[in-house]
């Protein structure tokens, strides 16, 4: 009873501090869109909806939102289009730096850098958004399409990203993440979860990218030690676009034809996915292979459970060093699951999928590939998923009901 009373008080306090009337701030496409839309994003109050009209917004500079609790809502991902083709400055199209923001029902096209970035923006929702570089896959396209970073509670739902020169949907250095019901195609990486804790990536389609879904961890970053990521119920097919990432970036090392790649993470589950037409391999589990200077960094992969995936044709056109030799040695194609072998049995990489597994037999993550001792392997053990489901705060789910 006492607790109930306290809750009621808390609720009343919440209501009292919220604005009395949430406004709708309509912004039409057309001339002066840059200043009109940016001003709306600045003067909006918590609870307000900045409503984008139908049509093209021709923008010259990056837009930004720094007010908590604001919704930016368009008339649909093909109807309200923020075009950055004429962008003169800024590292992204739209930047969000406040909490409890909902972005939905609009498109961002042809930004010079990243398309939509949210940084330090907790409880962010991306829903029914299209991000596209309209010239197709090109090295000069921006790096990331949907780019939440350094945030807690990230929900990406029903977005479409086409043409990012790094990752279509990229979640970095964040915690508690759901990426679902989305489509990534013609990006270098379709979906990438990097240096993150606790993520569910499910019911997405990753196709025609260089690599479909990546779960990475990199050294020398404020948040590292990626773990607890579940990748399930996705379709990961025909990721055969040649790698067009600018060199120097980690994804430039992803071979075309990669389905899912797990690098330098722990406690990862890959289950109930459908793979087909990935020419290099369906699932690659490898360590960080570059030189680094970071005593806190763990470069190898541990605790991976792979189960109940459907493996179609794969490994028929491996695009990595030694790939052709491997294919020749193993009956004409590279096996659907590859593990670098680092850590041996203690690494606890297990699979119950009924397909061949290739163990490269490395003892160090950065060992030259020429010194690998590849052999078919059984990854026996309990492969059943057991990580908990990632749950978003109810208000975030309610925002897109």
């Amino acid at each position: 009873m006492k607790r109930k009373f306290a809750a009621a008080i808390a609720l009343m306090a919440c209501v009292a501090s919220a604005p009395l009337v949430a406004k709708e701030i309509p912004v039409a496409a057309g001339s002066g869109a840059q200043e009109r839309l940016q001003e709306a994003l600045i003067v909006a109050q918590p609870g307000d909806v900045v409503k984008l009209g139908e049509g093209r917004f021709a923008l010259t500079d990056g837009l930004s939102l720094d007010v908590a609790g604001v919704t930016v809502k368009g008339a649909g991902p093909d109807k309200s289009v923020l075009s950055f083709a004429g962008q003169l400055a800024a590292g992204e199209g739209l930047l969000v730096t406040s909490d409890n923001v909902v972005l939905r029902d609009f498109a961002v096209e042809d930004s010079k850098g990243d398309a939509i970035k949210s940084k330090g923006a907790d409880n962010i929702v991306y829903h029914n958004i299209r991000v596209e570089w309209t010239g197709g896959p090109r090295e000069t396209n921006g790096a990331y399409g949907i780019y939440p970073v350094e945030s807690e509670n990230v929900l990406v739902d029903s977005v479409l990203v086409i043409g990012a020169s790094d990752a279509g949907i990229y979640v970095g250095q964040s915690r508690n993440i759901v990426v679902r019901n989305s489509i990534a195609r013609f990006n270098v990486a379709g979906i990438e979860i990097e240096n993150c804790f606790n993520a569910d990536v499910h019911d997405n389609v990753a196709t025609k990218n260089t690599g479909g879904i990546l779960v990475f961890d990199l050294p020398n970053l404020p948040q590292q030690g990626g773990h607890n990521v579940r990748v399930f119920d996705n379709i990961v097919a025909e990721n055969d676009t040649p790698n067009f990432a600018p060199k120097g970036n980690i994804v430039a090392s992803v071979p075309s034809g990669t389905g899912i790649m797990v690098m330098a993470n722990r406690d990862i589950e890959i289950f109930d996915n459908v793979f087909d037409g990935n020419g290099s391999s369906n699932i690659m589990v490898i360590g960080y292979r570059q030189k680094y200077d970071d005593a806190k960094y763990q470069p190898s992969v541990r605790n991976v459970r792979i189960s109940d995936n459907a493996h179609g044709k794969t490994g028929f056109a491996p695009q990595f060093a030694g790939g052709e030799m491997l294919a020749a040695a193993f009956g004409g194609s590279v096996p659907p699951i590859i593990w670098d072998g680092v850590g041996g049995a203690e690494a606890s990489i297990v699979s119950s999928d009924e397909v061949p597994v290739l163990n490269l037999g490395l003892t160090r993550s950065d060992q030259p590939i020429e010194t690998a001792q590849p052999a078919l392997a059984k990854l026996t053990g309990d492969a059943a998923p057991r990580l908990p489901k990632i749950v978003m705060p109810a208000a975030m789910e309610a925002a897109i009901k």
Binding site: D61, A90, G91, L95, T97, G113, S165
Partner: protein, 341 residues
């Protein structure tokens, strides 16, 4: 004869000298109350046309190593309410009392020829710092608030003698914060005692209104382009600290990059860029592996991004449409001097 002397004084001291202080009362309520004054004149910082007549309650200063902003000249003032005190921490970073304001005017032309484009104010309110941009009317009668920023065609005088046309970007309120953010809150960047340059009178005024916790370090930092003020290493790091570290620090807008160019990060060589691989650089990498490849400026991402004006590549991301040729030359020389591993 007298006129000649005045002209000489102008020529020597740059844009600051055109400021002849006049008595005038500053509207403390405009600084402290919530809301966004629509015009700059509401603050009472300047009287008459443009910025030629600042209030005598303002303390003028310049920076020994400034942020590059498309070769704009900048006129800077501090305002602190009567009787209120500034406190300087052990590092000489100034902490301003509620009611203070920092007033920075951007324009082109030296001395009496200085023509302001915009004035940015940082207001210290009880709720924290507020950053607002004001754009001068063509007749210089007042400057108007441009919350959403704007672009203006401007001719930039260059060393070659030729003027270069640019699309000058007045930042919007949020962009002010992108550079001035520390852990999500707006903070001043420039007023660190070591990097401040003041006339004798202004220095005396600032000293008398400040409680100093550390040594009096006014004006002791290197001047980026004056070899007499510090080693190449010291001057390059001072340049990077001012031009990059407002974002590239562990609490700044670029915290996720892991590239930290603030003085405090110097203990971790990789964090300062040495053999540091890019994270979210995209085409900003220019095909290079490291932010700084010691000994090899041509293969350093830092030089590539400083040398570009393309959005998505150019660093800093906002605030310039031209390459700072002299700044790039300094960083090239510095990287060349670093021993390769």
């Amino acid at each position: 004869m007298k006129l000649w002397r005045i002209a000489l004084a102008f020529a020597c001291a740059g844009p600051l000298a055109s400021a002849a202080p006049v008595p005038g009362s500053i509207a403390d309520s405009a600084i402290q109350d919530a809301g966004y004054p629509r015009t700059l004149s509401e603050f009472g910082f300047f009287t008459g046309q443009g910025v030629t007549a600042p209030s005598d309650q303002l303390i003028g200063y310049s920076l020994r190593t400034p942020l590059f902003s498309d070769y704009a000249e900048k006129q800077r003032f501090i305002y602190v309410p009567a009787a209120a005190r500034i406190s300087a921490d052990a590092n000489g970073t100034l902490d301003f009392p509620v009611g203070s304001a920092l007033i920075k005017t951007f324009g082109y032309g030296q001395g009496v020829a200085f023509r302001p484009i915009e004035t940015r104010v940082l207001l210290r309110r009880a709720s924290g710092w507020e950053a607002l941009p004001y754009v001068w009317k063509p007749d210089m009668s007042d400057a108007e608030l441009k919350l959403a920023g704007t672009r203006l065609p401007v001719m930039v005088p260059r060393a070659s003698g030729r003027a270069q046309p640019i699309s000058y970007a007045v930042p919007n309120k949020n962009q002010c914060k992108e550079c001035h953010a520390r852990s999500g809150a707006v903070v001043p960047i420039g007023p660190v005692a070591a990097n401040m340059a003041l006339t004798a009178k202004a220095a005396a005024s600032l000293r008398s209104r400040t409680d100093w916790k550390g040594p009096l370090s006014l004006g002791s930092a290197p001047v980026w382009n004056d070899a007499g003020t510090g080693s190449l290493d010291a001057r390059a790091r001072a340049y990077l600290a001012i031009n990059c570290a407002h974002c590239h620090n562990p609490q700044g807008s670029a915290s996720n990059s892991g590239l930290f160019l603030n003085a405090g990060a110097a203990g971790d060589p990789v964090a300062t860029g040495l053999y540091k691989r890019p994270v979210a650089a995209g085409r900003g990498s220019g095909g290079h592996d490291f932010a700084i490849a010691p000994g090899d400026p041509d293969r350093s991402i830092m030089v590539h991004r400083m040398s570009s004006t393309e959005p998505g590549i150019a660093m800093p991301e906002v605030g310039r449409s031209l390459v700072h040729d002299e700044g790039v030359a300094l960083i090239r020389e510095w990287i060349s001097s670093l021993p390769a591993k």
